[in-house]
């Protein structure tokens, strides 16, 4: 690229430094905009036979070309429950790191099993965070397949939303991906790398550094998993004197222990535990707490609490326990929840008929 030699006709003192000094301009976060001209101005001062000569200036310039780049960030995890259909969303941020405004196509996808995760979310949709508040609002945040006019250096937030299958189980993970592809607003098609001869000036040429980018979010099922087991122990054969190793003979007292274990990662709210007493047994009241209570309840490692299991089908003292015929019911406030990785044990005694 050859320069133009220009004369600077100045009378008097030679000028030392001329040209594009100026104050430092705007700092462009994503680089100098496409199409800007960058100019170099060189000046030479000299003397001939001790006579100061008119300074000579050389100027040359180039046009800043277009570079297309983008990135997508995600990486969030949301804990969900099986069958959850609201509030299931993962957030993503798309940033246009080109030095020119661009449009972008958006695609949301489930990742495959078993290679990458354990289940797919249902009704997968990509939504634009219209008010940029990081919260998915179904009425406000519209479903989109693209976004337009994203300025150089600017970002927008999007969600992938969906539903969790009822069959998903505790600790299972679903991974979802948002892929963005840069689209040239002038052609409404993907930006095309300029394969032509390099030109120093004129119209900005296109360099596609990154054509598309993606990020992933996960949904992890965190739910309670309950198991129930029932054991029995002979407390006494009630003989006189009682046998050291009592057997389950008529007249013996048996203790039943119902253990509800939560092996999940979320606490479970119990509504009620019902246990029909076996035939040929009779409920034995007042076996606990120095002969004042009917049922013992132990929550985790806490000391046992007790209740009265009134006959007649109604919990008259509202302590959570009562009997309806041969069925024992235990509920709130005696038992309310089983914490994650914990147990609740209900004990009561019967007489073998």
């Amino acid at each position: 690229m050859f320069s133009i030699s220009r004369q600077m006709r100045r009378v008097g003192l030679a000028v030392v430094a001329v040209g594009s000094i100026g104050l430092s301009g705007q700092a462009f976060a994503q680089g100098t905009p496409s199409g800007d001209t960058v100019t170099n101005t060189a000046t030479v001062n000299y003397t001939v036979a001790s006579v100061v000569q008119t300074p000579v200036t050389a100027v040359n310039a180039f046009t800043v070309d277009t570079v297309v780049k983008l990135n997508v960030t995600g990486g969030t995890n949301l804990n969900v429950t099986p069958g959850q259909s609201t509030g299931v969303f993962g957030m993503f941020t798309l940033t246009n790191t080109s030095n020119i405004a661009s449009n972008f196509n958006l695609a949301g996808t489930n990742r495959p099993q078993p290679a990458e995760d354990q289940f797919d979310i249902g009704a997968l949709d990509v939504r634009f965070d219209v008010n940029n508040n990081g919260i998915y609002e179904p009425g406000t945040d519209t479903a989109v397949t693209s976004t337009a006019g994203l300025a150089s250096g600017a970002s927008r937030q999007f969600f992938i939303v969906g539903t969790i299958p009822l069959a998903a189980t505790n600790t299972q993970v679903a991974a979802v991906r948002l892929t963005a592809t840069a689209i040239n607003p002038a052609t409404s098609a993907a930006w095309v790398n300029d394969a032509g001869v390099d030109v120093q000036g004129g119209i900005a040429q296109i360099v596609v550094a990154t054509a598309s980018a993606f990020a992933q979010d996960t949904f992890t099922v965190a739910t309670a998993t309950l198991g129930v087991s029932k054991t029995s122990t002979v407390i006494s054969d009630n003989l006189v004197p009682p046998s050291p190793n009592p057997k389950a003979i008529p007249g013996a007292t048996m203790e039943y222990a119902i253990v509800i274990a939560n092996t999940g990662s979320q606490s479970a709210t119990l509504q009620s535990i019902s246990d029909p007493l076996p035939a040929a047994t009779t409920f034995q009241p007042l076996q606990y707490s120095s002969g004042t209570r009917d049922v013992s309840i132990q929550v985790g490692a806490a000391p046992a609490t007790f209740c009265i299991a009134e006959a007649g089908g109604s919990d008259t003292n509202a302590d959570g326990c009562f009997r309806t015929g041969a069925t024992l019911s235990v509920g709130a406030p005696a038992v309310t929840t089983v914490a994650a990785s914990s147990t609740v044990t209900v004990r009561f005694r019967v007489l073998i008929n």
């Binding site: 690229m1 050859f2 320069s3 133009i4 030699s5 220009r6 004369q7 030392v16 430094a17 001329v18 040209g19 594009s20 000094i21 100026g22 430092s24 301009g25 700092a27 462009f28 994503q30 680089g31 100098t32 800007d36 960058v38 100019t39 170099n40 101005t41 060189a42 000046t43 030479v44 001062n45 000299y46 003397t47 001939v48 036979a49 001790s50 000569q53 008119t54 000579v56 200036t57 050389a58 100027v59 040359n60 310039a61 180039f62 046009t63 800043v64 070309d65 277009t66 570079v67 030095n99 300029d194 001869v197 390099d198 030109v199 120093q200 000036g201 004129g202 040429q205 360099v207 550094a209």
Partner: protein, 164 residues
Amino acid sequence: MKTGNRNFIGAIALIASALSGQAFAQSQDCIVLKSTAEIEKEMVSDQGEKSKSLVPAGKVIPGTEVVWTVTANNVCKQPSDKVTINNPVPDHMALVPNSATGPGADITYSVDGKSFAPAGQLTVQENGVTRPARGDEYKHIRWEFKNSLAPGASAFARFRAVLN
């Protein structure tokens, strides 16, 4: 940019000034100054040997390093003395520290365009505190050639800058 037309126009301008010089007894410029923008490309020969060469800067995008070269050619019959080239770092570019070269020249820099000093001796103010200026903060470069530039000889100055 059509370089062919530029050359043609440049040639016309020089001829015109030379003619006007003869007519009005004005002296022509003794130094012809040129500035070029190039990038360094790594080439691999057929034998797999790598080498670097300078080619005209074509697709320049943020992050590209541009090599600017200024040549001063003495086209008169007398020597030119006290030849000094001044070149502000172009807007939107950051000087690559220690990249300025120029055989036979003392090279100094300036941050404000007024006071010049060798590399490492300039300071800037930041939040009211004075600290040494970094190489990429130098905004002007000056080459002062120590020897006369003989008739027909060329002085040569070069620096590198990265496009912001």
